[in-house]
Symmetry: C4
Subunit: 214 residues, 4 copies
Amino acid sequence: MAKQTAGEEAQKETGRVEAFSDGVFGIAITLLILEIKIPQPAEVLGKMSLAVALARQWPAYISYLTSFLTILIMWINHHRLFRHIRKTDDNFLLANGLLLMAVTIVPFPTAVLSLWSQTPDANMAAKLYTGSLVAIAVLFNVVWRYASGDSRLLTAGHDRKEVEAITRQYRFGPLLYLSTFALSFVSVVASIGMCMGLAIYFAIPSRKAVCVTD
Amino acid sequence: MAKQTAGEEAQKETGRVEAFSDGVFGIAITLLILEIKIPQPAEVLGKMSLAVALARQWPAYISYLTSFLTILIMWINHHRLFRHIRKTDDNFLLANGLLLMAVTIVPFPTAVLSLWSQTPDANMAAKLYTGSLVAIAVLFNVVWRYASGDSRLLTAGHDRKEVEAITRQYRFGPLLYLSTFALSFVSVVASIGMCMGLAIYFAIPSRKAVCVTD
Amino acid sequence: MAKQTAGEEAQKETGRVEAFSDGVFGIAITLLILEIKIPQPAEVLGKMSLAVALARQWPAYISYLTSFLTILIMWINHHRLFRHIRKTDDNFLLANGLLLMAVTIVPFPTAVLSLWSQTPDANMAAKLYTGSLVAIAVLFNVVWRYASGDSRLLTAGHDRKEVEAITRQYRFGPLLYLSTFALSFVSVVASIGMCMGLAIYFAIPSRKAVCVTD
Amino acid sequence: MAKQTAGEEAQKETGRVEAFSDGVFGIAITLLILEIKIPQPAEVLGKMSLAVALARQWPAYISYLTSFLTILIMWINHHRLFRHIRKTDDNFLLANGLLLMAVTIVPFPTAVLSLWSQTPDANMAAKLYTGSLVAIAVLFNVVWRYASGDSRLLTAGHDRKEVEAITRQYRFGPLLYLSTFALSFVSVVASIGMCMGLAIYFAIPSRKAVCVTD
């Protein structure tokens, strides 16, 4: 059997990191639904209708939606980064692993926010939630800076301008999420509203670029 | 290392979207089982046999079966769409992401239906359940219409007739699920029965077509 | 961009079915651990040591082990079947989907068995458990008979003898699991012991065959 | 359609084992977050602030972090092994399956440790935790020794020195984790501290080797 070429080997390498990352993103995003409580007939019947019980859980739906959109956008971004990455090394695997850890943690602050957003301690819940988004934004920068610094792990024929555009764009992530964190000290509604707004803003593609034209 | 050709790149692109989607479908379909309550000896012993306790949960099994078959058929359909899709863009990733969100939500209405189908509020549970299936059917159309409109993201050599056949066939999905939603106002049994019937109907292949003959 | 050849397309097809199946097997096997209860300090402290509380849960560990090994062996078998399958069609996707449904159900009877194996209703729990293994064994035969009948979905150059050997071997699965089901009416220990024995027996490879020699 | 070459077939073989393993690692690592309890307003309000309730759970965060890093490093190592493995056989699938079982069990001792680390029974929880890490380290050696013995399943052109380097390095894993197990009899803090230390130590790459240079 012939030895694989370096190129094939590299593609297999990044392929497995992508597959593992996709799995973790996919599971984290799907587990979010488990944090929404099922109204129990024994607790609800006689007090209110199921419709009212479901409606009262609206903060859980907002949290769910914000977290789902945020993780989805992270995944799309992760996907975009790997279009330019052709190699991996141990540092990169570690940085990517820490990023994945931050992503898998999201269901926890999401559940805390759902349960506490209408209590006197809502601010603390919002701080926890926005703080974890800051961590993710920072780790995204670490992963990308490491991979793109000195073109360390990039494809040989990568588009220099696009790489720089990503670097510029990513710089704002931590600042924007830091703003939502700062806002959470003042107003929970404004803070979570901004998180939701950012998710929607980033979700709407600015350029209607087709990834690949043939 | 040689630059990849556009075709290889594109295949890697859609490949990763498919892998992520498969992961989400696979997890959502597997999580359904967690919504079936395990009869607890402390609550059951002395009151009834395990067999009776298991039998009393029959609405949970019906809900499980309907949801499993429905997600399975969605996955087969998703799989079928991607046979014709060769490119992705950001809009497409977003539309597909919203479709996946609707799919991951399914365990929630399934659990609500299981618990509430024998209460006076069964109608509300059925509305929630059928309503979420309407959303999925609509989002499937959004994904396919976007990908196939102007042959935007299709393979170069796609079969025009088959693409049009899919478009025609998909048009009925939202209408059929809207009927189950309307039925849920009148009769829970008829409404869920129709969902089950649709899942079985779509599961039985109309044409005994082999995907690929060699 | 060139149209893919039929062979490449077919490989992509079965590839996606395998990936989805792997995901479902992987999740079902990993969810099993969630069914093992964590001893709660509030309930245990003052009554017994943690060691005793953990030891008392031994039926849960036996159930876990039996189910894990059984799903693992199913996965290895599924993996072996797909070595011979090169095409898919809608019937096959449906049959494989029903097989996956049976696999994802396993955590439910496993949890019931764990909780009820030391109650007067242990027989019912064992019937449920072994009954679900019968269903899986039957569905494995359905999937394989459909794929291999008239060489319907097999690779062009498949090894006729090996295909027949699999068919012969699979015939015994339903009978063996039907025996564990019959045993569960008489003795829970013998019935679950036989399930465990079968899992270990099938896990130990009879022929020390290397899948691929190069 | 042409028969695949032995090399392609082998790659597909190990590819599927890797995909299944990645799925199991990915799910096990993501399920860890479910073991962290969400502070419930009904239990906390009026007694302490959410911040205090969250802070009091610090042992759960330490356990989470240690387990996440440990599974991550296991995954990186698994990934590294498969770079040298090109074939599979039934024994190997079984050994790898047992390793995956040990990995999926990790959320259980992690949860026990989180709940019991501040009780008089903390030692027992630490023994369970470190004992399960010993099992994983031993199984990693079994998998690698089987695959690399007589170069049984290695790629044809494998680097003899690197293979021996892995064998030497792996020998220490069981000894080191056996030390944490021994320590757990004396001091829970020292024992878990050493687990955390090992995870961090192994996570920091000693050689800044790029996997593939092109």
